[in-house]
């Protein structure tokens, strides 16, 4: 705003913009991180979308990169292997997440009781979470590998198996070690999330409920679980997102096999991209995974009303 020479100059302080210098500092400090993320995450994502609208096969460079519109997506809709892989992903996600949440809640409730050796328990369950998924996959594959693997030996000795199973030759049995490994690796994370939720519940509520004569079961179902709902929801959505993207575990344990009978969408996409080098088609698959994941993520942010502002902003004192 310029002051006209003849006009009365109003002191700038009468109508200051809300903290221009603050805003500048804010953007300046955020810029490097934001630019990095934009450059290596958002820009490639845009590229993927663009690529998915093209026929692009790296093995046949002479074909060029013709624009095919939604052609790739239409092909996917008729692609049986895609629907199967989606089914595998759904099956894997549903079972593993259900088991993890149930087990995680039980573990959290047990850990929430003050007892000696709590640190040991926490560390013991935290280590599986912290190690590479690849390592977890190998550890469990070793346990179930070969007819003389320890799983077969133990199960036979317990009388649960009449003869040793070759777990990885059939899809129906191959899923068992896969899901077991996932449960082993990620239940701790669920339990710790729920434990933090449990610890934020006011203990006086339980004392009040006890004085009112509430049984332990009543307290669990009427106090704990309702108040734990946000934490349960967070765990549920985090785990679903992760399970939907499952790649490392299955790549190492079954390689999607036998055949493609345990192949999840992420692995199918990976194969399309980096084995078959069908970049256009793989990109379309990637976009579909992204849309589903993003939908779930939005659900999470909406459903929980994630607080992005901090509590004091603009509250005024």
């Amino acid at each position: 705003m310029k002051n006209r020479a003849s006009g009365v100059s109003r002191p700038a302080s009468h109508a200051p913009r809300p903290d221009n210098s603050e805003a500048r500092a804010g953007w300046l400090l955020t810029a490097p991180a934001l630019a990095t993320i934009l450059f290596i995450a958002l820009f490639p994502l845009g590229w993927t979308v663009w690529e998915s609208l093209h026929e692009h096969d790296l093995r046949m460079p002479w074909l060029g990169r013709p624009f095919v519109g939604l052609g790739n997506y239409l092909t996917i809709m008729r692609d049986e292997r895609f629907w199967q892989s989606l089914g595998h992903t759904a099956l894997f996600s549903a079972i593993s997440v259900a088991v993890e949440l149930t087990l995680g809640l039980a573990l959290a409730l047990a850990m929430n009781r003050a007892f000696r050796g709590r640190g040991v328990v926490r560390a013991a369950v935290l280590v599986p979470w912290a190690i590479p998924t690849v390592v977890a996959a190998l550890l469990w594959r070793f346990i179930f590998d070969s007819q003389a693997g320890i799983a077969n030996v133990v199960l036979s000795n317990l009388g649960l198996l009449h003869q040793p199973l070759v777990w990885f030759v059939r899809a129906s049995t191959a899923w068992i070690p896969v899901i077991l490994a996932d449960v082993w690796k990620t239940t701790p994370f669920v339990a710790l999330l729920l434990l933090a939720g449990l610890q934020s519940i006011d203990q006086e509520l339980y004392e009040a409920a006890s004085t009112d004569g509430a049984s332990a079961w009543w307290q669990l179902t009427r106090i704990t679980i309702p108040l734990l709902k946000p934490a349960i929801l967070v765990a549920l959505i985090f785990r679903t997102l992760d399970a939907f993207r499952v790649f490392d575990l299955i790549y190492v344990m079954t390689g999607g096999g036998p055949g493609t009978s345990t192949e999840p969408v992420a692995l199918y996409t990976f194969n399309a991209l980096l084995q078959n080098l069908e970049f256009g088609y793989g990109a379309a698959l990637s976009v579909i995974i992204f849309i589903v994941t993003f939908g779930l993520a939005m659900l999470y942010m909406r459903g929980l009303g994630v607080d992005l502002g901090d509590s004091r902003a603009g509250k005024g004192r």
């Binding site: 953007w27 991180a33 590998d145 003389a148 765990a235 970049f279 992204f290 999470y300």
Partner: protein
């Protein structure tokens, strides 16, 4: 009372369940290949160091360890430093667009990696970064940067704002109050963020698998996953390698478990 005993028994079983694969891997990694599957026993009967020796002489397992360390450390340092500035601004400075930035960063933490593998591959190829360290550090930042920023925002928000205001009234500029008051107090938060970021980078598989071409640039997870024997799966060496890959992480987790749990749960539970 009965509930308490049940809880205890359950916990003991869970700890055994959690620990068994490690125990079994350790035992097997010291067992001769020949007896691994012949008559498996829960107790070690014969201990040898052959697998470990082979790991470093025949397979040069040092290289993937070195690669993993370089990539994970570089990514962590970058993300925590750059992330700290961003997180401070997002936690403390009022500016329009801030909520959008936070929402965006949170959304990116949930990005499926597979969705950007192909464009990243093209991008790295055009930058001639395939099969290089920067060619891994850059992609790793897609998940490490949002993670670091998101965790740090939580830590910065926990600091009482009065402290910063006191410093400013005492005569400190924003920069001085950041360096002399905020940073020293956020030390534990920075450490937690660094640990978590490091663990995520150390464990990453898909990008490392896609953007490296040979053993000279493989990271630990890729190297282990791609172990091949001449006639059969070299389980002894694989397990020795998993023990080596797990040991440092296990130590970090045992030492910093309290912090890690705090970092893991802070962002998620409070939202």
């Amino acid at each position: 009372m009965r509930g308490r005993i049940a809880a205890r028994v359950g916990l003991v079983l869970l700890v055994l369940f959690a620990a068994f694969p490690f125990y079994w891997a350790v035992v097997a990694s010291f067992t001769p290949e020949a007896t691994l599957f012949r008559e498996p026993s829960l107790w070690p009967r014969e201990l040898i160091l052959d697998h470990y020796r082979a790991l470093f002489t025949e397979r040069d397992f040092w290289t993937p360890i070195k690669n993993s360390l370089i990539v994970a450390l570089t990514t962590t340092v970058f993300c925590v430093t750059i992330g700290a500035f961003a997180a401070y601004a997002l936690a403390r400075i009022e500016f329009s667009g801030k909520r959008a930035v936070l929402a965006f960063i949170l959304a990116v933490t949930m990005f499926p990696q597979i969705s950007i593998v192909s464009p990243l591959y093209m991008l790295l190829r055009s930058l001639h970064l395939i099969n290089t360290y920067p060619g891994l550090v850059l992609p790793y930042m897609t998940f490490a940067m949002p993670l670091a920023v998101w965790l740090l925002v939580g830590f910065f928000r926990q600091l009482p704002r009065d402290l910063e205001e006191a410093a400013m009234v005492d005569g400190a500029s924003r920069w001085q109050s950041f360096v002399r008051v905020i940073l020293p107090l956020t030390g534990p938060g920075l450490a937690t963020t660094a640990i978590l970021t490091f663990i995520y980078c150390w464990n990453e598989f898909l990008f490392a698998l896609s953007f490296t071409l040979g053993p000279e640039r493989y990271t630990v997870p890729v190297a282990i996953a791609l172990f091949r024997g001449q006639y059969q799966v070299p389980w002894g060496q694989i397990l020795a390698a998993t023990v080596i890959a797990t040991a440092p992480v296990a130590v970090v987790v045992l030492v910093f478990q309290r912090r890690i749990v705090q970092g893991l749960t802070a962002g998620a539970v409070k939202g």
